[in-house]
């Protein structure tokens, strides 16, 4: 029998990212710096039963984002994505 996977997906990290960035990230499109995969944040693999949140590419497992909260700061590491494209309609 296969072990139950420990990851969830980008939906589960959306609250923490929205709190810092001020927008919904689940519909943001990320380009993985590891393999070039283009996909929405909601489909990433999220490991969050840890001191921080680790977001990985569902194809190549490259870490596309990390978010760590300390009592005074938030640390964001976004090196693993070449870019984020965030829906932002003109108003």
């Amino acid at each position: 029998m296969m072990a139950e996977p420990t990851h969830v997906d980008g939906n589960a990290a959306a609250g923490a990212f929205a709190d810092v960035l001020g927008c919904d990230v689940t519909t943001a499109t990320l380009t993985c710096a590891g393999c070039g995969r283009v996909g929405v944040f909601a489909e990433t693999h999220v490991y969050h039963r840890a001191p921080g949140i680790v977001v990985r590419c569902p194809d190549c497992d490259n870490v596309v984002a990390r978010l760590v909260r300390t009592p005074t700061d938030v640390w964001l590491d976004l090196r693993g994505a070449q870019y984020w494209r965030i829906p932002f309609p003109a108003r």
Binding site: E4, T6, V8, N11, G15, A18, D19, L21, A42, R49
Partner: protein, 246 residues
């Protein structure tokens, strides 16, 4: 003045209004949220519990109903060794809980969207999909098919309501798939969800339905693989996975 950013999605304390059993181990909890600005079917909230020593634990819970003023509802499955769910299934009216949300714009259904919708639920993954069905009752014109995988009939959430909806709504088909113990009248032997459960006339890849899959990670991966294998386009499939910790 504090240096630093203001949280964009602040925590707030909300009151428990009521708590009713859904199954032996799951309860639907009604919360009063003053100033609630509304939400879209499929969205979730984060809940936070903090112990006296400052240790805190957070979990995400899907909203089970569309907008209803300042009242929101969740259904919580109690996980025996969980940190948050045993507390939530024991809360009483009047108690306070820290909440932030609504959260997520991907795993949502809006009444103006899409003509054919296939919903696939594994266990408590039914919750956000139920919000979509309840939204459809009020507004929209889409045809829905729900495939709901549960261990046994005792584990079905919203059983009576789903029965009524299936009988009364010509836009809805419901197929309950029992994985461990089928009901005596069920024609299908118990077993995991298969291709024949997912692909029926009207809901084939040629019909190009929008598909929503919600459940434990292993369930979502398995169902998604089958759907894509059947020819459903990955871009038509939206997924939400939850983990083993409660």
């Amino acid at each position: 003045m504090d240096d630093g950013l203001t949280p964009k999605l602040p925590w707030r304390v909300v009151r428990v209004v009521d708590s009713t059993p859904e199954t032996e181990t799951a309860r639907t909890i009604g919360l009063a949220v003053p100033g609630w600005g509304g939400h879209v079917a499929g969205q979730h909230v984060d809940l936070k519990l903090t112990a006296e020593d400052g240790y805190s634990a957070q979990r995400s819970y899907s909203l089970s109903r569309p907008v209803d003023g300042e009242r929101i509802e969740l259904t919580v499955q109690q996980i025996a060794d969980g940190e948050v769910s045993p507390y939530l299934t024991g809360v009483r009216p009047g108690e306070g809980i820290e909440l932030r949300g609504p959260i997520g714009g991907w795993f949502v259904w809006r009444p103006a969207e899409e003509a054919r919708i296939l919903l696939v639920a594994g266990g408590s993954g039914i919750v956000p999909l139920m919000a979509m069905l309840r939204q459809r009752i009020v507004r929209g014109g889409a045809e829905f098919r729900l495939v709901y995988s549960v261990r046994s009939s005792a584990d079905v959430y919203y059983a009576q309501e789903l029965g009524h909806l299936e009988r009364d709504c010509d836009w809805l088909q419901v197929a309950v798939v029992y994985t461990r113990a089928a009901t005596p009248q069920a024609a299908r032997p118990p077993g995991r969800i298969g291709v024949s459960d997912l692909t029926v006339p009207g809901w084939t890849p040629d019909d190009d339905p929008r598909v929503y899959v919600c459940g434990p990670t292993g369930f979502v991966e398995s169902v998604t693989t089958k759907l894509i294998g059947q020819g459903h386009r990955p871009s038509r499939i939206r997924t939400e996975r939850f983990g083993p910790s409660g």
